[in-house]
Subunit: 145 residues, 2 copies
Amino acid sequence: MTMSWHTMMEFEPRLVGCVVSNRNFIFNSLKATKECVLNIPTVELAVKVVGCGNTSGRDIDKFKTFGFTPTPASQVRLPLIAECYANLECRVVDARMVAKYNFFTLEVIKAWIDPSRKQPRAIHHKERAVFMVAGKTIRLRSRMK
Amino acid sequence: MTMSWHTMMEFEPRLVGCVVSNRNFIFNSLKATKECVLNIPTVELAVKVVGCGNTSGRDIDKFKTFGFTPTPASQVRLPLIAECYANLECRVVDARMVAKYNFFTLEVIKAWIDPSRKQPRAIHHKERAVFMVAGKTIRLRSRMK
């Protein structure tokens, strides 16, 4: 599924919170298995990202339809997507916000990136099929570590 | 305070979740008053954003130090920041994730933007004082409403 609502929640342990609608095909299996992989695409995959958002795993095999290459994960029983810049293997560590908000608290237990990609440009969902493409990076002075 | 960990959680009601560390000066007042304003800056304010993150309201008046102009809100007793592109007046509607994760669930009860700003460029925190500046917008075809 395509997901846009997520946030870091903690560095140690590495927690991510995200909304997975209960209308989504994977909602029940995520609740049951407490495992998922967050696949982070770059702008080259934007058309496929929208395609994944417009279809359901109830009807099609998205890996085949969109030409994604499944790669074995190390900690969970779900595959990574080889074409994605980053893949985060996660376990649900807190489900108390699921019933009311569809909000899952995940711990990232293994993170993968593609080291050959020097300037990955992520996409950030704005509305419908409209995305902001990551722009330039600025570095300011900070007193914080 | 400067905050980087937040996510949309629902369109209706308009919910935002965010992490406010319990080491922050405003943590206790946010818990007590259940009110806040999310001020959304653009890249022109990046140096001040870092300044706000490097200092504490325990020691200084950040409005004065950084030259922000307070403007009355309509639904909460805290001011907006006139220099910010957007200001979201919020109420804490769920605090059950606060004790363990410092995670607040907010309802946006009033939203303000500066209509004179045609191309606001938000900044997205990467690490320390490093930010990604919002890049171009791409519009793809979608079957979703």
